[in-house]
Amino acid sequence: MTANLTNNFEVFAPRLVSQDEIFTSGHRACQGCGPATALRQIGKAIGRELIVCNATGCMEIVASPYPFSAWEVPWIHVAFENTAAIASGVAAGIEVLRRKGKFYTNHEKITVLGIGGDGGTMDIGLQALSGALERGHDFLYICYDNEAYMNTGIQRSSGTPFGASTTTSPSGKASFGQKTNKKNFAEICIAHDIPYVATASVSHPSDLMAKVKKGAEVKGPAVLHVFAPCPTGWRCGSELTIRLARMAVETGIFPLYEYENHEYRLNVDIDELRDIREYADCFEKRPYMESQGRFRHLKNEDEILATIQSEVRERYMRLRAKCANVSGGRR
């Protein structure tokens, strides 16, 4: 494995990570919640000059039971599908009030952040997000992807991977679970040709924080697709969150890359992708798929597993071919 993170070298020093907690403890997320971990990392990366616009979903519910708040920055929740529209309103409002000299403060940079889950982003919220990206508002949108609608109780979304059993794509006598492939969300955003799109994972916090910073600093819209396992929905041990996230990167299931200045760049390039089935040296000696209850029914479905495996590899190779910084990539 070759890590291509050298251009972000400085962020590897843990002492440089802010000690300030913007998303504080005391929220109601489950043990080992990947999305909550992501929010903590995001808050640290941006700091207090931040306005959060949060979609309905787990992260909104766990953070805001009135009169408590887990956010130490201004925060607004309106509905499920309109977070990008709210964020575009906030960004436009700040901009016009600044121009008219009516803004309440002189803070030079205030980051407007939209946050939604995979359902609130890739399904019902996609129209609002597309509109906001097209209009070019100065905001950062982050989708934390736990691969299902967790807040309503683990239903499939268009981010749910092929074969996963959820309450609306259950495995049964006549079904092996989710029958469609995970929507390529980052690619949809890239097609809007906005200044910055990246994928990140809670397993790679320095990379994630560097990307959050970059997305926040870029002028215009930026999107981050963050992989964030959910032990509750994935039916796995709560201590496995980060390990599974790391395995998703190392198997090529969730590659880490960026799109900036019209170029793709792989941040973690992997010569030898790990196998989703035979990942023998992994923790607890269990491969990616097997350690998750949502794939348990596929245990002896060799054909389906083989299909998933080859699909993962092919997708990864297609992505790699687009990336300017890897051999064989577009130069």
Partner: protein, 396 residues
């Protein structure tokens, strides 16, 4: 347009209304086009493009996003405006409750139009009646002058710290919105003197972080909704004050419930909105000329519902004919009529209330129709029977 002297101009009501929005120094507009609202947002975008309005104009991708963006802009402290109609209002429905629940004083014009199906772009009030219970202040402008004058009043009412509620100005589609009318304009100085700058109580402020739209568990939800309703009801005081002040400054006085030739009337024609409201004047004059003691009551404030005034003007009458341009399907007939019945229920000697549903989807109604319908209602009031409601002009 010159805004330094008051003038009397001939202008399409939509454009006149947009000119009034301009004088209100709005900071932010988000909009999506829909007939018959389009001329308003088009003209506003022109005014922005010409630098006559210094505002963020966010041309969103749907009405759901229009209201969402308005909430975002209002949350930063902007004076915020939008306009819509029909399906657009229906698409916003979800977010409308949130705007009032979060107490953002957004002003929205709804150019009233029918709802699908069948697809129909013409005027009626089905759209606003389906959005009756969203917790917004809802006013009606019946003609060009009223739509113009009510514009700064809407902002002033919405932004009053005793209120802080979003406010809808309803205008009947086409028959009011698209008609060229004479309008007496106000000057920039007039409006500046009348409408102070918007001072938000809370906003998204990194120096004073606050949470908007938190989860309200059962132990607080009821209280929040009660406060909303109490505030909406209490906003009547502010509405009356603002109407009064406007009248004193500019000589045109508005009332929550307006009367025409009602002094000695035993029969009342009750209307809401400009289309039926304006022609009913003519019908009342004609009925009077024939010796019938008929008067008209126009409802200007739909929410908060002005129970006290309605009882005052209807108590002691012999017959009330309420015109609705919407129908509560499978229900009590016209939505306004059912509210009037509720207002008058149990009053000693309460008059019979006839609910007439008319002029749906742009169907014409003429002053002669109203004359005939009122005469029939008078007979029914004496002899009965009268049905829960009548939908007039239906072809068999």
């Amino acid at each position: 347009m010159h805004d330094d002297v008051r003038r009397r101009i001939g202008i399409e009501v939509s454009l006149g209304h947009a000119e009034a929005v301009k004088l209100c120094n709005v900071d932010a507009i988000a909009a999506y086009p829909i007939t018959p609202q389009t001329h308003i947002v088009e003209h506003l975008s022109e005014l922005c493009a010409d630098g006559e309005i210094d505002a963020a104009y966010v041309p969103v991708e749907s009405e759901h996003s229009a209201m969402s963006a308005c909430i975002g802009m209002s949350a930063t402290g902007c004076r915020t405006f939008t306009a819509t109609s029909s399906q657009g209002l229906a698409l916003m429905h979800e977010v409308l409750f949130i705007a009032s629940g979060m107490r953002f004083p957004i002003v929205m014009t709804v150019v009233n139009r029918a709802l699908s199906a069948p697809l129909n772009i013409w005027g009626d009030q089905s759209d606003i009646m389906a959005n009756r219970d969203i917790g917004w202040i809802q006013l009606f402008g019946n003609n060009g002058q009223e739509c113009y004058d009510l514009t700064p009043m809407c902002f002033k009412i919405a932004e009053d710290h005793r209120v802080l509620l979003p406010t809808i100005l309803n205008i009947d589609g086409f028959t009011v919105s698209h008609v060229v009318e004479p309008i007496e304009t106000l000057t920039r100085e007039d409006v500046d003197g009348f409408l102070p700058p918007y001072e938000p109580v809370l906003r998204l402020d990194v120096d004073k972080p606050a949470m908007f739209g938190a989860v309200g568990h059962p132990d607080v939800y009821t209280e929040v909704k009660k406060v909303l309703d109490d505030t909406l009801i209490a906003s009547r005081t502010v509405i009356d004050e603002v109407f009064e002040e406007f009248g004193q400054r500019f000589g045109r006085t508005y009332k929550a419930v307006e009367e025409y030739r009602t002094e000695d009337a035993d029969t009342i024609v009750f209307t809401i909105g400009g289309t039926i409201g304006e022609i009913a004047h003519v019908s009342v004059d004609a009925l009077r000329a024939e010796g019938h003691k008929v008067g008209q009551v126009l409802l200007r404030v739909w929410r908060p519902f002005p129970y006290d005034d309605i009882r005052r003007v209807l108590d002691g009458r012999k017959c009330v004919v309420v015109y609705d341009r919407a129908l509560s399907f499978g229900g009590p007939g016209g939505p306004v009529a059912s509210e009037i019945r509720a207002a008058m229920y149990g009053r000693p000697g309460a008059p019979p209330i006839h609910s007439i549903v008319a002029a749906l989807g742009g169907r014409d109604i003429r002053w002669r129709h109203i004359v005939d319908q009122v005469k029939q209602a008078q007979i029914r009031a004496l002899e009965g029977p009268f049905p829960p409601y009548e939908m007039v002009g239906v072809r068999q």
